[in-house]
């Protein structure tokens, strides 16, 4: 086992344990903090995948913006599902069963696939850099239409969020 594999196992274990805590803890502030741990683990996984840009984006957008938004929402809606109230609905056992069945199905389906044990190819001169990604996002031959649609979606979401959350008398 190489150092990278041990590192991956450690990070994977922390990420999974934190994500289990996100869905199982009763205290919503703690759930949001465990989500931050999970997101950090995913950022480290991006580093292991040689996608440094995504690691930075993960930290800035997910940890810097989205989890703060979650913590604010938890604070603004406090004490509704207090620590005494049930955190899970009546069908939680069925939900756990469904999640396990889905995991088993995914595992079996992936095991039958020939590329399951692929190791990563070495980087060549053709491997795109961040510069290539930026150029591809704004070039008409590349992904300018998805990029613009995403910007319109973000503006629409922003306007919609302000309109919905606006306090009316």
């Amino acid at each position: 086992m190489t150092v990278m594999q041990i590192l991956f196992l450690l990070i994977g274990l922390v990420t999974l344990a934190a994500s289990v805590m996100v869905v199982s803890t009763r205290n919503m502030v703690r759930a949001a903090l465990y989500l931050i741990v999970t997101l950090f683990g995913v950022a480290v996984l991006y580093v292991l995948l040689n996608a440094g840009f995504f690691a930075v984006v993960q930290v800035v957008i997910y940890i810097g913006a989205i989890s703060i938004l979650f913590i604010f929402a938890v604070m603004l809606t406090r004490d509704v599902t207090g620590l005494q109230a049930a955190a899970f609905n009546r069908t939680w056992l069925l939900a756990a069963f469904l999640a396990l069945v889905l995991f088993g199905g995914l595992f079996l389906a992936l095991q039958g696939w020939s590329g399951f044990e692929t190791v990563p190819p070495a980087f060549t001169d053709d491997t795109p850099t961040i510069r290539d990604l930026g150029l591809a996002l704004v070039s008409p031959d590349g992904y300018v239409i998805p990029f613009e649609v995403a910007s319109v979606l973000l503006v629409a979401a922003m306007i919609g969020a302000i309109y919905v959350a606006w306090g009316r008398k």
């Binding site: 991956f8 995504f54 939900a95 595992f107 992936l110 190791v119 990563p120 980087f123 591809a136 973000l154």
Partner: protein, 102 residues
């Protein structure tokens, strides 16, 4: 070297944990947290497939970036809905929000 299967299994496990959170939690914010876990699992898969199968093709990275944007939009609207709901009905428990239920 880490085989691709490790990433895929980790992402599958994270997706299933998120799915359990979405299906089992009563608090609407907790449901959104589960959706975040699922989106992150999908993004691990996308970036891992880009790295292992076709690193010359930029499409994998562009795809992952779009997923980031959609996740940000989804969270903004979802939390705004939850806060508006809390103002009007004083609850964010998913099963008590049944105005549209037949």
């Amino acid at each position: 070297m880490i085989p691709l299967s490790w990433y895929l299994i980790l992402a599958a496990a994270m997706f299933c944990v998120g799915l359990y959170g979405v299906l089992a939690r009563r608090n609407a914010i907790a449901i959104l947290l589960g959706i975040e876990l699922m989106l992150n699992a999908v993004n691990i898969n996308v970036v891992a497939f880009w790295r292992y199968l076709n690193p010359e093709n930029i499409a994998g990275q562009a795809f992952a970036l779009i997923v980031f944007a959609v996740a940000a939009a989804e969270v903004a609207v979802g939390l705004a809905l939850i806060i508006a709901l809390y103002r009007r009905r004083n609850t964010i428990v998913a099963e008590e929000i049944d105005l549209l239920k037949w």
